[in-house]
């Protein structure tokens, strides 16, 4: 917008890290800050931070309204995840498989600080591949539907991806994503899911499990660095920062275990990038020897890896007018978009998939629909 005050991307990150500093910014800067925070899905974190730091009452009333709105959503959503998990537990109680809860829902289950201020979308779970059909069937019996995916999308999901198409609960409108691995089976570095399942831990008083600490971090990092769309990238980095800080405080062996585990699962690269980038962007305290260990198991750390790091350093910045919409971010995001798709599927399949999406977009919406 023409004369809006922008917030530098770096300053934005600092304000999310240290919300108490926001008490000094102008109303015009708040306008940009709120918009960028909404765009990057960090407004919940900002709202909870502002309340936690006790500066809520010092803010302009118009600003408070937006933060209060976000706070209402995040606190209730945390509760809603709990309710949804209960419904899921009931639905799947006769299916013979471990159910590992992933990502945001796992943070809630574990009471992790990564759940603070987070807005949740779908619930993600992981089950044994052999139990996929029974899981899907049980969910359908309990009111989830497979959703409107055309036959191509159905085939795409079932044959190539690590998850079945998202299922929506008719009564509540909530969505569950059922995975059988954390990366598509055709991806180059798809890990051995049995290792992940074996190390998973039960959550007391529930029928669920979550990944162990190192695997939670590895999953988060893997997910981030295989993503093609990075709108939630910065939010994911903040999640990672929360997890790393929490786990490293809980156990002095955490860092070494993380490096060893990443090597075992052959996922050193995303973990390495995660540590480098949380350190660079959010200031997470990552011990030098962990990075060194990861570098040594990826010997040599090629120019390619360094280039990737540089791309992500730009691409993870908010891409929004409020931050000035820097051309290099857009360019970097373009590079990441292609890389994300490339990592997930072979190149020949990639070009067919992308061009098909383009064709559909062009002709799907006629004057008859809303």
């Amino acid at each position: 917008m023409s004369n809006c005050v922008t917030i530098a991307a770096r300053d934005f990150v600092e304000l999310i890290r240290f919300p108490e500093r926001a008490v000094a910014i102008s109303l015009a800067q708040w306008d940009s800050l709120l918009r960028v925070a909404k765009h990057t899905n960090l407004i919940g974190r900002l709202a909870e931070g502002v309340i936690c730091k006790g500066i809520h009452q010092n803010l302009p009333p118009k600003v408070r309204t937006h933060l209060d709105s976000a706070y209402v959503l995040t606190t209730h959503q945390r509760e809603a995840i709990g309710w949804e998990l209960r419904h899921i537990s009931k639905a799947l109680k006769n299916v013979d498989t471990d159910i590992v809860v992933l990502k945001g829902a796992a943070y809630v289950l574990r009471g992790s600080s990564a759940a603070q201020g987070r807005l949740f979308g779908d619930v993600d779970v992981l089950v044994a591949r052999t139990a996929l059909n029974n899981t899907e069937a049980a969910l359908m019996v309990h009111g989830w539907t497979a959703g409107q995916h055309d036959p191509y999308d159905q085939k795409f999901y079932r044959q190539w991806m690590h998850e079945i198409p998202p299922m929506t609960n008719r009564a509540r409108g909530t969505v569950i994503d059922v995975h059988h691995n954390i990366l598509p089976t055709i991806a180059r570095n798809c890990p051995n899911v049995d290792l992940l399942l074996a190390a998973s831990q039960p959550v007391p008083n529930t029928t669920f499990r979550t990944f162990c600490a190192t695997d939670m971090v590895i999953h988060s990092a893997t997910h981030l660095f295989h993503e093609s769309e990075l709108q939630n990238g910065l939010r994911d980095l903040f999640d990672l920062d929360s997890l790393l800080t929490e786990f490293s405080v809980a156990s002095t062996d955490f860092w070494i275990e993380l490096a060893d585990r990443a090597a075992l699962l052959r996922l050193e690269l995303p973990v390495y990038l995660a540590l480098r980038l949380t350190k660079a962007i959010i200031g997470t305290s990552v011990p030098g020897q962990v990075l060194a260990k990861l570098e040594s198991s990826m010997q040599p750390v090629s120019r390619r890896i360094k280039a990737l790091e540089a791309i992500y350093l730009r691409a993870l910045m908010p891409d929004h007018p409020g931050c000035g919409n820097h051309w290099s971010t857009t360019l970097a995001r373009g590079a990441v978009f292609l890389r994300g798709h490339f990592l997930r599927m072979p190149p020949t399949l990639l070009s067919w998939h992308l061009s098909r999406k383009l064709v559909i977009r062009l002709f799907r919406n006629t004057s008859r629909s809303t």
Partner: protein, 313 residues
Amino acid sequence: MSRPFRRVADLSLAELRQHLRAGSFALQTGSLTSRIRSGLPDVARSIHVLYGNHAFEIAPDFSDFHVEVRQPRNLRRWIRRQVEFLIDGERPFEPLPRDQAPAFLEWGLNWCIAASCHQWITIHAACLERDGLAIVLPAPPGSGKSTLCAALSHRGWRLLSDELALLDPKTLLAHALARPINLKNASIELIRAFEPDSVWGPETYDTAKGRVTHLRPPLDSVNRMLQPARPAWIVFPRYEAGAPPLLTPRSKAQTFIHFTQNSFNYGPLGRSGFDTCARLISQCDCYDFSYSKLDDAVEVFDWLSGQLPAGTV
């Protein structure tokens, strides 16, 4: 409003177009400020007509929403022309046919409010005020709610909104937007005849919805758009051709289901949503209302405005 403010009608159409192109025009509706960018001349004309009495600012420090209505940056700019609505650069909707641009602004703003204003519980309902008390008219599409709302707003009731009842969980007061009323097909002629002096936006045609246009809100409702009101009645209207007016009391428990089913954010508000709706329904008298003639409806609601629920001060 005590301090002087400028109304949109004080701007010439050319000036308004310039500000809209620059993205510096910010419209005040109730307590919300919406900063609008658009290079489309029909959007400018529509705003000039429908929001003529509303306050505005140029390049304010803070706006609640930053929206844009523009043509797509792809082939659909030229072929089977379309228009997009963006909130802060995001596209929550699929594009619409080009000629529906002014209507898209209205629907888009409705969505912005329903999707992100959780300081209120938002109900898909019309809301009007008289003598300090408000009536809430929840209704699914096709119930004639907007037509009824348009009529009542020109017969002694102040319009708060035709689509979005905004209820404050702390005070249980309804807040106003005083935005244009969305009318379709036969309702358009009905209200034109009912209120010959009414002012209208552009009319468009869509094979799914039919003829669609917007009615400018009455001046008084715009002047008093910062005044909330205490809901006293919840009435579910139903248009029935040829039917005599019939107002029947409604079970509160039944009202609760239908009321919450018509809410945009009841679910996300969890306990607070339940608590707010429960207390609101307790304080209101609840009715079903079927009718076929607007004059009948006006008469019945005139009568209703004198029937204060028990416990009303």
